[in-house]
Amino acid sequence: MSELLTRASARARFRAFVDEFISPCAATNDMSGTIPTEVLDAVSAAGLWAAVLPEARGGTGTGMADFGILHEEVGRGCSSLRSLLTVHSMVLHALDRWGTPSLRERWLEPMIKGQVLGGFCLTEPDAGSDIAALRTTARPNGTGYRIDGLKQWTTGGQRAGVLLTFARTERGISVFLVDGSDPGVRRQPVEGMLGTRASMLAHIQFEGCLVGADALIGLDGAGLGLAAGLLDIGRYSVASGSVGIIQACLEASVRYAGGRTQGGGQLRQHQLIQQLITKMAVDAQAARLLCEHAGSLKDAGDPATLAATCHAKYFASTAAMRAASDAVQIQGARGCAPGADVARYFRDAKVMEIIEGSTQILEQLIADDACQRLGERGPRPEGD
């Protein structure tokens, strides 16, 4: 019972914060394509950038279950800000867990305080879901490395102070933490995206970017394994944020359907509208339970959390798309209008089905996992 009370208390605190600081400016941010510094500062003041780290390691979190609740609530208010929190958490976790002492000394505190934001530089023009195909190189240079290559669609890339960068070395895919102010780093802002428009995306060109040997995160060549662990955190965040979108759709739909009269009665009294609201309510709860399950497994250190997180992200992101589509449908033309919250949820929900493991990649992973556990492995495609 006490755990439930603690979670309820955390949710109430996060919800109040989002309602006061995040939701009121989300539509404006979406239109301007940026998140104002005051909002980022409010997140810092509330200590929410470091929720992925427990207090014992300098963070402000009390576990991954609470982390999920925070990301759900922020996702309910503004998916763009939740995206920034996602990648920052992934980079912070990598630094804390596998960073060298000198890297930790330099970056941990400013990242925990939100003075420096993290960017996650993985995707390239010819490497998205297929990480093994990436072309960015890190070649030995003196005592360190020289990084060259192009990264695309980097969330927060317009202002990230440190860039967790995946690059190919002689030993395979490796991971480096790069100072964003290095002269070998050039950023090209990406504007006018379909969804999460305020997440300050950028394409990032590394050209003769020199880093020391201590910039290596984990072992040289261990990048694929690290990516799996880090994407698991990102996936959990996106799953939780998707629950927030469903909840936002539900709340907007109930408000609208209760306030609008159609055919002589409240819209909410029409059975076909009730059907749409019912699907949203049940999907919200089902997705939330899947996320809570994945979060509890993470807190227990149970390896089953990796599969559970895939299940949660798959269900929550596809349910968010359904909910957002229905929320727009309920509001009709008003839901399609510029600045309509449900239109933003619709556009943001589509992004949730793509990032941190697309729906199709998750279907492959989940089906493979199920078959393997039941003894039906079958041949694997070459190169997988």
């Binding site: 867990r97 596998w98 995160i217 984990g218 072992l219 060549g221 261990a222 694929l224 394994g225 690290l226 990516a227 799996a228 662990g229 698991d232 227990a300 250190g301 149970d302 390896p303 959390t305 990796l306 599969a307 895939c310 992973l365 493979d368 393997q372 556990r373 039941l374 003894g375 492995r377 041949p379 694997r380 997988d384």
Partner: protein, 89 residues
Amino acid sequence: MTDTTRTELRQFVERRFAGIELRDDTDIFSLGYANSLFSMELVLFIEQLIQTQVPSEELSLDNFRTIDAMTALAGRLAAADQRQPAELG
């Protein structure tokens, strides 16, 4: 400790890949159906088993290829974990 660890590791892999024919020196990754997600599952399982984190310098795929290698890794980490208080003191 080592025998128990070896047995638990074997049971974990056998549960994950039902029907797998596994010797202690079988390279699990060469069988063709283990992926990077599974490698992280192995890291988490070993951490859960010995109640300590796998440090970055041990995150080599070679440490997770076989039951033998994982048993040896778990043994090294457990021994290092027991030494740590004395070394700190």
